[in-house]
């Protein structure tokens, strides 16, 4: 019985993989309809990562568009050696980080006020059911990006440091800062 269940699951996975491979190959050949199907399948994942990185709905949607436009141009670089979703996450993280550098609000860039939102949130933090997503997007920008890339996406601090153009020590410090803020907001400040 167990064996037959495994076979069904394996067959489904194989079918999905084969279908995805066919769609990617069609899109690589210029088939826009196939690419639209890839978009439909992955837009939620790309947008989720972009939203967590940017902490802003409008920026995340713009970054998602940017990802899929560049992906169309660079799809030929994908060689099927790694999982498509893994490659797409890497592309999404890089493009979103790059996009944020260009699109960040003028005041934030000039006056570096990234901490203010977090401080304000501290005052508003409430007890009750913890919504981690809403806490993450309220983290200060650099702490949020490091936290998302390390804790959710599984990047090493060396990779994050290179991606965000910061020292490895800074990446670790920002991760610690993010965890401390989350700890406080989740009601563990007296631990």
């Amino acid at each position: 019985m167990e064996n037959s269940q495994c076979t069904v699951v394996d067959a489904k996975a194989a079918f999905t993989t084969a279908r995805e491979k066919a769609l990617i190959e069609a899109a690589q050949s210029g088939d826009k309809q196939a690419y639209h199907q890839i978009y439909d399948a992955y837009v939620g994942r790309v947008h989720a990562l972009s939203y967590r990185l940017t902490g802003d709905h409008a920026l995340a949607e713009d970054a998602t568009q940017e990802v899929f436009i560049q992906l169309w141009r660079k799809l030929g670089n994908y060689n099927h050696k790694s999982k498509f979703s893994t490659w797409l996450h890497s592309v999404t993280a890089n493009i979103t980080v790059s996009y944020m550098r260009k699109q960040r609000g003028w005041f934030q860039r000039m006056f570096n006020i990234e901490g203010s939102a977090a401080e304000q949130f501290h005052a508003e933090a409430s007890t009750g059911e913890v919504d981690l997503e809403s806490y993450i997007v309220r983290l200060p920008e650099r702490a949020r990006m490091v936290f998302v890339l390390h804790a959710i996406e599984g990047y090493r601090h060396e990779e994050i440091a290179s991606m965000l153009n910061m020292a490895v020590g800074s990446s670790k410090a920002q991760f610690h800062r993010a965890k401390q803020l989350l700890k406080e907001w989740m009601g563990y400040d007296n631990d």
């Binding site: 837009v43 939203y51 409008a58 949607e61 560049q70 913890v130 631990d191």
Partner: protein
């Protein structure tokens, strides 16, 4: 592992993998796909050259006014306030001209006007500061920088320069 670490890990594991955008992004993506990368880069490169030229002109202007003309002179030469007015007037004309030029061109992002407004607010804040300290060359540079960002924003959303992966 502390209680916090355990709870955090549980929450992380439970985070949804997907989050649908609030609007349809495909139309903008299709438009971007239709634009060849080479063609998209050219206008932006020209924009870059204009920006460099504008920066050089600004530095020359600021140096001239900063070192020679900033103090109010009895001979009626330009004061800092007059320079701000001239810069603002010139920028407004350039901005309006671009907006008219791109009236029928679809923008690839929907929040660009909000960004434009944010930059307007920044410019107003700097102009208010310049009102108090009209000869402050650092503030003048900041104002020019904001104006350049507005022009770049309008050009970018209508003729985007796609980044490289």
């Amino acid at each position: 592992m502390t209680n916090f670490d355990q709870e955090l890990q549980q929450k992380l594991d439970a985070l949804p993998r997907n989050k649908a955008p609030n609007r349809d992004l495909w139309r903008g993506i299709e438009l971007g796909m239709e634009q060849p990368a080479d063609e998209a880069v050219k206008p932006a490169s020209r924009g870059g050259l204009y920006a460099i030229a504008a920066s050089i002109a600004l530095v020359a202007c600021l140096s001239w006014f900063g070192f020679n003309r900033m103090p109010v002179t009895p001979s009626g030469q330009l004061t800092g306030t007059e320079l701000v007015q001239a810069l603002s007037q010139q920028h407004e004309q350039q901005k309006q001209s671009l907006l008219v030029q791109y009236t029928d061109t679809p923008a690839l992002t929907e929040n660009w006007q909000a960004q434009l407004t944010e930059l307007d607010q920044a410019a107003n804040a700097i102009k208010a500061a310049l009102n108090e300290d009209p000869d402050n060359t650092a503030l003048l540079r900041m104002l020019q920088n904001v104006y350049q960002q507005q022009i770049a924003l309008i050009e970018r959303v209508h003729a985007p320069k796609w980044q490289q992966i």
